[in-house]
């Protein structure tokens, strides 16, 4: 009952913030509200017991994306350009039609937590839940599915992130114009940022290497790492952030992550297994699975960290904005 109430309240917040965003003309509060929207979504994921997703949503949606959007705003303008009346009507029509179609589609969806659904009854669910502890033997089923059973998917996702990084770097270039200045003489922010950043980095390391046992893994750890460096860069300036992670290192890390992931697959092939079949990595298959999952999660973490920090650095290097 309490959970239902919580879900309803959070969903109401989501709708309210979405409506507020739609009604606004100033882009700056819009960005702030999208952060709030993400935070509500993260809470909602938490209520649904999807802690892995909630962590990513909180760090990316409410943290990194907000910073990147603000960076983009600093390069463009702060106000929405009014669109022509005819076009807004057309957009309204398209939106209403899509919305109606989506609402119609939800009528076919099973009720929340209904037992008689394909997701619950398909044999693969039972396999993940009951055979996985014997086959792979890690307590966190999400990690086992993500990096083990569906390793190809995750390799694809990592490659997508890497490709996005390359695309943005090519579009915006690495040319330094007017680098972001640090927040002027604000020692309070500086001290707190320097106090918090190491703690966040430590937590990121925990999330990275504890992903087999609890919620976490490469994606979550990567964005947490990036969040710490972004926080440091925002307060102490881009040059200080680059002193920790040089632009070259960022580029090498982004590529190295995908290389580690793909290389693990090639290694399993060389050892006589199939691509990304971790069984052959160690003397017994469960050990091999553990090693393989750890390696590919590490690769994911590298690429995600480098991509997030790289995007921030590219934006911050172009605008003459203060954090």
């Amino acid at each position: 009952m309490t959970l239902h109430l919580l879900t309803v309240i959070l969903l109401t917040f989501l709708v309210i913030s979405a409506l507020a965003i739609a009604r606004m003309r100033e882009l700056f509060p819009m960005v702030m509200l999208t952060g709030l929207y993400s935070l509500c979504s993260a809470c909602l994921f938490m209520v649904l017991d999807a802690v892995d997703v909630a962590m990513t949503e909180a760090a990316v949606g409410a943290g990194v994306t907000t910073v990147l959007m603000l960076a983009a705003l600093a390069l463009t303008g702060g106000r929405e350009k009014p669109a022509a009346r005819k076009r807004t009507l057309m957009a309204l029509g398209v939106t209403l039609a899509t919305g109606a179609a989506l609402v119609y589609a939800t009528l076919d969806m099973p009720y929340f937590a209904a037992a008689a659904t394909p997701v619950q009854q398909h044999p693969i669910t039972a396999h993940y839940l009951y055979t996985m502890p014997v086959e792979i033997g890690v307590p966190n089923v999400v990690s086992a599915v993500l990096a083990g059973y569906r390793g190809y998917d995750t390799l694809g996702e990592t490659t997508v992130i890497f490709t996005a990084a390359i695309a943005v770097l090519m579009l915006l270039g690495t040319r330094q114009r007017k680098a972001m200045r640090p927040v002027n003489d604000n020692s309070i922010l500086r001290v707190v940022a320097q106090l918090l950043a190491p703690v966040i980095l430590l937590f990121a390391l925990y999330v990275q290497f504890h992903g087999d046992y609890g919620p976490g893994g490469g994606f979550q750890a990567g964005v947490l790492f990036a969040a710490a460096i972004l926080l440091f860069g925002l307060v102490c300036g881009l040059d200080a952030a680059h002193a920790i992670m040089r632009p070259n290192l960022i580029r090498i890390m982004a590529a190295a992550g995908v290389l580690v992931y793909g290389g693990t697959g090639v290694a399993t092939m060389l050892l006589g297994g199939q691509y990304l079949d971790y069984d052959v990595l160690a003397h017994d298959s469960v050990q091999g699975q553990h090693l393989g999952i750890m390696l590919v999660e590490f690769g994911v973490g590298l690429t995600v960290t480098a991509t997030m920090v790289g995007l921030f650095a590219v934006f911050a290097a172009r605008g003459s904005w203060r954090g």
Partner: protein, 105 residues
């Protein structure tokens, strides 16, 4: 003995919730940015501390208690800093504090 802890915990939780509501009302009623931030700080500090104190009394074991204390430490560190940064940014941007009509500086 257990009812005493429960009562104390409830007292803290209700007081914290009350202060949060007062903070929320203040955000709506105060005349300008700085005074609204002042109202929000009631929620941030006293409301947070009381609610966390109430939860601390409810914690079933040591591990949970430590986590709650860590959350408190994190909030004590971050929320004043965020408030400071916000006020500082507004002041740097040229936003003058509201004064009572007739008050001159």
């Amino acid at each position: 003995m257990i009812w005493l802890i429960d009562a104390a915990s409830w007292l803290l939780l209700v007081a914290g919730a009350l202060l949060s509501v007062i903070g929320a009302i203040g955000i709506h009623r105060m005349p300008d940015f700085y005074t609204r931030m002042h109202a929000a700080s009631v929620t941030d500090t006293a409301g947070m501390a009381l609610i966390m104190g109430g939860l601390l009394l409810q914690s079933p074991n040591f591990a949970v208690a430590i986590r709650i204390l860590m959350i408190v430490a994190f909030l004590v560190l971050t929320s004043p800093t965020a408030t400071h940064a916000l006020a500082r940014a507004a002041l740097d941007d040229g936003l003058r504090p509201w004064l009572r009509p007739g008050d001159k500086r």
